[in-house]
């Protein structure tokens, strides 16, 4: 089953968008996600989709038009990177606050400044608290699969939260790799028709986006927060169903050679592949090392992560984003928080790595594993907020 193809990550996402055939796509070009818009515009020009495509004048207007279209009851999608996501910032909260199940393919790129067009995660990590579900993808296959699943998660009647599907700019967005696609009819059946609970154009008077007064605002925020908590189950259900359809079984995260590991690296997106290679090399020498690759970052799988790392002696959390908080990156913060209060839990350190497209090599991960070994041997964690791959550090 499935169709064997060779596609870049961008074309894989564009293909998924074509197969989903949304009602409205509003987008604005930005490197490295622009290609998705190119491919999709061609599908529109060739009549391969029924979608109304709106080529807006900014990302701010892209998300605004998506909000309007979604509030009018249409299945709605957009694509962006970096500063484009930053320009959408205000509307990301409006979209999730109005409980509009928009999907957004993020092709991760460093935020300015100074300007840099290469990959890191400062864009989507900056939006981690905007009420959007965030799925991360190691390669083109995962970007495709995550995207196919995103509507089912977003539109679930108990959730109604927008979803970001993230992949690494250039590294996976532009690299052509083998991929197994689903047939169009199978995607259509899996995703299903969209039946919104309300619409501005249903014939009934409907107001969306009111001024929310003191007696109600807090309750609405609570409902949004609950939906994020509840989304974990829905995500797992959708993953399960997708696994039955494709044989590709996904979890909240992937545990790679973790069963008897003493040391592990926690990482997300494309660097997981490099980490796995480093892990294999050390495993061949008999070292007990593993990799935990996060797929679902929002909602954060707190209990599951705590359980998965509880048997380890030392963990390095990799952040391809510096949060300038002076206490480490965003993934680190959430992992350490998850492990708080654990008796005999692992030592946890943080590495900021690969900012602005800095090459991430196998040796970097080997170096990190070696440092974890040192921590175990000496019993001393030392500095926990570290950087790897920076000259002179």
């Amino acid at each position: 089953m499935g169709i064997r193809e060779r596609l870049s990550g961008n074309e894989a996402v564009a293909t998924a968008m074509r197969q989903i055939n949304p009602d409205v796509v509003a987008a604005y070009p930005i490197t490295p996600s622009t290609e998705v818009v190119h491919y999709f515009s061609q599908y529109v020009a060739d009549g391969k989709v029924d979608t109304e495509f709106v080529a807006v004048e900014s990302e701010h207007s892209a998300m605004s038009a998506c909000i309007g279209a979604s509030a009018a009851g249409g299945r709605t999608a957009t694509v962006t990177s970096a500063c484009g996501l930053a320009l959408m910032w205000e509307l990301l909260y409006v979209a999730s606050g109005a409980r509009l199940p928009i999907t957004l393919a993020v092709v991760n790129r460093a935020l300015s400044g100074p300007i840099n067009i290469n990959n890191d995660h400062s864009d989507s990590m900056g939006a981690r608290d905007s009420g959007w579900i965030q799925l991360y993808s190691e390669n083109n296959q995962e970007a495709y699969d995550n995207y196919i699943m995103s509507n089912r998660i977003a539109e679930h009647k108990d959730i109604l939260l927008p979803v970001m599907v993230c992949q690494d700019g250039f590294i996976t967005s532009h690299a052509i790799e083998n991929i197994e696609l689903l047939e169009d009819d199978k995607v259509k059946k899996f995703v299903g028709p969209y039946n919104p609970g309300f619409s501005l154009i249903s014939g009934k008077p409907t107001s969306v986006g009111p001024y929310d007064t003191v007696p109600f605002y807090f309750e609405h925020q609570y409902q949004r927060a609950r939906a994020m908590v509840d989304s974990k189950k829905v995500i797992l259900d959708v993953f399960k169903e997708f696994g039955q359809l494709t044989g590709r079984n996904y979890g909240l995260f992937e545990e790679y050679r973790m069963e008897d590991a003493e040391r592990a690296i926690i990482v997300l997106n494309s660097s997981a592949g490099t980490a796995k290679f480093a892990c294999d090399t050390l495993r061949a020498k008999g070292e007990k090392v593993g990799v935990l690759k996060l797929r679902v970052f929002r909602p954060f799988p707190m209990e599951e992560i705590a359980k998965a790392v509880s048997h380890l002696k030392a963990v390095a959390v990799m952040d391809k984003c510096d949060s300038f908080s002076a206490i480490g990156g965003p993934v680190f913060g959430d992992v350490r928080n998850s492990c708080y209060g654990m008796s005999n839990g692992p030592q946890i350190i943080n590495y900021i790595y690969g900012l602005g497209g800095r090459d991430v090599r196998v040796e970097d991960f080997t170096f990190v594993y070696e440092n974890l070994d040192e921590i175990i041997k000496t019993g001393k964690t030392g500095e926990i907020y570290r950087h790897v791959g920076v000259r002179g550090v």
Binding site: D23, V24, A26, D50, T51, E52, V54, A55, V56, E57, S58, H60, S61, S64, A65, C66, I67, G68, A69, S70, A71, A72, G73, G74, T76, E90, L91, V94, A98, L200, I201, G203, P205, T206, S207, V208, G209, P210, Y211, D212, T213, F216
Partner: protein, 309 residues
């Protein structure tokens, strides 16, 4: 059928009372007047930018809007309504929507002349079938009377106050209507509240029933910010048009047409003297300000007359 205010007012209201706009506020008058121009049977969705109108007319769980209403942010009413309109076109094509909908956006001058200008320009260029209505009260009233690019020269506002070194706003009002005309959209008009609302009604009807983007710039006085008694709304509007401070005209497919020419063009003092925001212009030694204001109005008026010939 000839326009008849009584008949128009007997139609079911699309924007009902109970909202929290100030007494005499021009925004509510503009919305009611524009929505009255919808043909019976047609439905509408209005996107309102964050502004006095938005925070006063749709406070959860209440709404004054009998048709569709959407608000998302301050600077993006045009982009948001373009998404709604696009989705409608798709659903209409798919046979999912039976009703006939019209799409409007309402923003104040802050949300239109200033922060929302890019979003407006983009939507106009893309050609969405919508009407953007700017209710122009010449300052950021919702946040407490700050200057906008629509605030006229010398008006006293909180971010351009009158002091020993300053005389209110130092710059002239931006010609937004002219900027919109430059987009080449099929229908653009300037209007305000005249005695029987005929001018606004007819322009709103044309705007709504012209295919493609249309723009209405409605002078919508704010008694609090302009400092005049709320009951003088119609007097202020009348003086605005009779002094040619706010000329009434329309531009249909690029053709400029004056829709009202005062029998006798009144001096600007007649308009300025009724409003507290211009009080300092009438102090001893401030005569130059009146002259400056008159010169600006005269020049704009002459240019307009040339365009309308």
């Amino acid at each position: 059928m000839a326009y008849n205010l009584k008949n128009e007012c007997s139609k079911p209201e699309r924007f009902v009372g109970g909202h929290r706009l100030c007494a005499g506020c021009g925004a509510g008058v503009a919305v009611r007047g524009v929505l009255r121009a919808l043909d019976e049977g047609d439905l509408s969705v209005s996107c309102v930018a964050t502004c006095c109108l938005e925070v006063s007319s749709c406070l959860y769980p209440y709404t004054s809007w009998q048709d569709g209403f959407v608000h998302s942010a301050f600077e993006n009413a045009a982009a948001t309504i373009s998404g709604v309109e696009t989705c409608y076109n798709k659903q209409k094509k798919d046979g999912k929507v039976k009703e006939n909908y019209k799409f409007l956006a309402f923003g104040g001058d802050g949300g239109t002349y200033d922060i929302g200008l890019q979003s407006l320009s983009g939507a106009l260029e893309r050609g969405h079938d919508m009407v953007y209505v700017c209710y122009d009260n010449e300052a950021y009233m919702n946040t407490g009377l700050q200057r906008s690019s629509s605030t006229p020269k010398f008006a006293e506002v909180t971010t351009a106050p009158v002091g020993t070194e300053m005389h209110g706003k130092a710059q002239n009002k931006k010609d937004l209507t002219g900027i919109v005309v430059a987009h080449g959209v099929p229908y653009v008009a300037q209007t305000t509240f005249t005695a029987n609302f005929k001018d606004m009604h007819e322009k709103a009807h044309k705007a709504i029933y012209t295919k493609g983007p249309a723009f209405l710039n409605v002078l919508a006085p704010c008694p609090r910010g302009w400092r005049y008694p709320p009951e003088d709304l119609m007097t202020i509007c009348k003086l605005a048009v009779d002094t040619c401070v706010w000329p009434l005209y329309e531009v249909v497919d690029g053709e400029w047409k004056l829709t009202y020419e005062p029998k006798k063009k009144l001096p600007v003092e007649e308009y300025l003297s009724k409003q507290g925001r211009f009080r300092h212009m009438f102090a001893k030694g401030a005569e130059w300000m009146i002259e400056d204001a008159q010169k600006f109005v005269d020049k704009k008026w002459e240019t307009l007359l040339k365009k309308c010939n």
